[in-house]
């Protein structure tokens, strides 16, 4: 417990440049932790620490290839996340009339800068309509690539389930969000 053996003290004595970098790293880590903002590499490592509740209904995305539901969990974790997360972003933009809600964050973060800065950042960070409209075609090709087969139709549906007695039961009100034919 001798303070001269402490890492930061030794670091300060042996290499002041490294000490500055490590101190800055610690300072940024504390800052982002307090703000509860995830910013690479200063993440808030609070995985599965919040209390959760069971929703009455749960919406699940299901992928249909040539009108047959596929088991998306058979894909690798990365491919499954890739399909579901890009689809969720597409769905959010589609429902929002192709307006990216991140634009408001851009507006807020650039409020002290001249207008051209906002325009530049918004153009780089936010999804534009013409980009979003290409998504269905890309997903079609992506699914063909990872499933190693030619596909005629892809369809993604949001299906609602009720959770009763430790089981999920589908409610018959699924809605088709994305469909692409080739």
């Amino acid at each position: 417990m001798n303070p001269t053996n402490w890492y930061l003290v030794r670091l300060y004595k042996q290499n002041k440049v490294l000490f500055t970098f490590v101190t800055l790293f610690i300072a940024f880590q504390i800052y982002f932790n307090n703000k509860h903002i995830h910013s690479f590499p200063f993440f808030v490592w609070d995985m599965y620490s919040h209390t959760q509740s069971l929703p009455d209904t749960l919406t699940q995305t299901e992928v249909f290839i040539d009108n047959k539901r596929i088991d998306i969990t058979q894909l690798s974790i990365w491919e499954e996340l890739s399909v579901l997360n890009t689809y969720k972003t597409y769905n959010r933009l589609h429902r929002n009339n192709y307006y990216d809600p991140i634009d408001e964050v851009v507006r807020n973060r650039t409020k002290y800068f001249p207008e051209p800065v906002y325009s530049y950042v918004s153009n780089k960070v936010c999804n534009q309509r013409h980009e979003t409209e290409k998504y269905a075609k890309w997903l079609h090709l992506y699914l063909e690539q990872i499933l190693h087969k030619k596909i005629k139709t892809i369809e993604l549906k949001d299906v609602q389930y009720l959770y009763i007695n430790n089981h999920f039961q589908p409610i018959n009100n699924s809605c088709s969000v994305l469909k692409n034919e080739q």
Binding site: Y48, L54, W78, S82, T86, Y142, I146, F168
Partner: protein, 263 residues
């Protein structure tokens, strides 16, 4: 792993071979899982989120450029692999190869995670684990290695702290609910999956789930020992491996990136 193999930090070359060997295995796994740029080529939807570093990347324009050009995807992907192999074999130029590897790995991960709309925390662990090899002098290598070790301890201890601070630890039935939400896809599509088979026992018996969550908490909080002594590093590394395997089996979470910091 240094402790497990009884390696002195000065036995840098052996340590480098272990770390870069493991890193190459992770790259093979990533390629096989489709987590390379060539598989994401031309994906049109961006997911920069609100992460400042992702925004800086977006403003520089490199993720948008790379994803639109197949040759750029191939160059970045293959350079990451070639530099990892170079770091494995070369002793003389390892620090320069490692700096280049960090740059290209950064380009790859920023672009990939942006266009998969998936931001992975564990990638940070890989960067911090590779950092010591960017230094040629033994003294700086040792100091940065020690920083990597403290970073791993921090991840696990703060994660345990939040489990207590955010109240999940004090709510015994919470983990069963977490598992229901976590595995809703497996429950409806693939209930035979090993993760769901284990989770369904815990879901059906919330008391067992509560105990499992406390064990998970203890597995993380025990890393406090590492702040005060290196004597138990072997034991902590074994616990880290068990933690990574169990989180995959029960939660279907991929934690092998974090394990690299324990090497």
């Amino acid at each position: 792993m240094k402790a497990l193999l009884n390696l002195n930090i000065q036995e840098r070359n052996t340590f480098a071979k272990v770390l870069f060997g493991y890193f190459l295995i992770l790259l093979i796994f990533r390629f096989q899982s489709g987590a390379f740029l060539i598989f994401q080529y031309q994906q049109p939807i961006k997911g920069f989120g609100i992460d400042w570093i992702f925004w800086l990347s977006a403003c520089s324009g490199f993720p948008q450029y790379i994803i639109q050009h197949y040759w750029a995807c191939v160059v970045v992907d293959s350079t990451v692999v070639i530099l990892s192999i170079a770091c494995f074999f070369s002793t003389k130029w390892r620090n320069l190869f490692c700096i280049a590897l960090l740059i290209f790995f950064f380009l790859q991960r920023m672009t990939l995670e942006t266009y998969a709309c998936t931001h992975s925390k564990s990638t940070a662990a890989l960067f911090i684990a590779l950092l010591p090899f960017c230094f040629k002098s033994e003294k700086n290598f040792s100091l940065v290695s020690e920083f990597s070790r403290y970073f791993l301890l921090y991840i696990l201890i703060i994660s345990a702290f939040y489990k207590f601070y955010n109240g999940a630890l004090l709510s015994p039935e919470n983990f069963a609910v977490t598992l229901v939400n976590q595995h809703s896809d497996l429950a409806t599509l693939n209930p035979q999956h090993i993760s769901y088979s284990i989770a369904s026992v815990l879901i059906a018996h919330p008391l067992y789930a509560g105990v499992a969550y406390i064990v998970l908490f203890l597995t993380q909080v025990i890393f406090v020992i590492g702040v005060f002594t290196r004597k138990y590093d072997t034991l902590l590394f074994v616990i880290l491996l068990i933690f990574a395997v169990m989180t995959y089996l029960v939660m279907r979470i991929y934690n092998m990136d974090i394990t690299v910091l324990g090497l």
